[in-house]
Symmetry: C2
Subunit: 99 residues, 2 copies
DNA sequence: AAAATAGTTCAAATATTTTTGAACTATTTA
DNA sequence: TAAATAGTTCAAAAATATTTGAACTATTTT
C-alpha cells in the first residue's frame, strides 16, 4: 500500500508526465485531431492526417498513452485510439483548482 | 497585422510554451508555492522555499514569465512575482474546451 | 505462398533543456 | 566606503527528448 506522501509523489509525477505529453506540437495536433473526431480512429489514419512517419507516430502515441491521455484498443493489425477525457479533466482542466 | 492563420500559429506556440513551462518539477513547486501565498513574494523567498540555487531560480522564473504564467515587479534589489491567473484560465483550465 | 499493410522496437544521431559556477550589476547595510 | 544581499548573464557540461532508418511481428489481401 502507498502512504499519503507516496500518493502525492505519484500524482505529482503523473501531473508532470501529462504536461510533458502536451508540450509538443505533434502531440497537440494528434489531440486536436482526435477531439474533432469523436469515433475511434486508427493510429495510421491520424498519422497520415498530421503528416508524420509510422515510427514517429508509434513514439508519440506511446507517450500519450503512458500519460493516460489516450486509450487504445488493438484489433488485428490496427490500433484504435480515443482521448481519455477523465485524464484531461483531472490533470488539465482542474489543475489550477486542485494545486 | 497578423492574419487569422498567423494568429492560430501564434496561439499554438503560446500553448506549447505554457505546457513546457508546466512540465517541470521545480516550476510546478514554484507555482504551487505561489498559489498558496496570495500576496507578492520575492524570487529569493520562493527559491529558498523550494530549495534551489539563485542561478536555477533565475532560469526558471524567466521561463515562467516568458510563458506568461507569472508577472513580476522589480523593486530595488528584489523582484516580486505573482501568478497570472488569466494565463492559467486560457491555456490550462480552458484548454480542452477550446481546442 | 507471396506481397502488402499496420504497427513496434532498437540504436545511433540530433536537438533541446537543465544545471553549474564564475563573473557581473545594482542596491542596501554596517 | 566596504561588505552584504538580490538577482542576472554566460558558456560549458550534463541530462533528456526527438528523429531516423532498418529490421522485426502479426495480420490481411492477392
Amino acid at each position: 500500500m502507498l502512504n499519503s506522501k507516496q500518493k502525492n509523489q505519484d500524482d505529482s509525477n503523473k501531473q508532470i508526465q501529462v504536461f510533458k505529453a502536451l508540450a509538443d506540437p505533434i502531440r497537440l495536433e494528434i489531440i486536436k485531431y482526435l477531439k474533432h473526431h469523436s469515433h475511434e480512429i486508427a493510429c495510421g489514419e491520424v498519422g497520415k492526417a498530421v503528416n508524420i512517419s509510422k515510427t514517429s507516430g508509434s513514439y508519440h502515441f506511446k507517450l500519450l498513452e503512458a500519460a493516460g491521455l489516450i486509450d487504445t484498443r488493438r484489433e488485428a493489425r490496427e490500433k484504435y485510439v480515443t482521448l481519455n477525457k477523465q485524464t484531461f479533466d483531472k490533470y488539465v482542466t482542474d489543475f489550477y483548482q486542485n494545486i
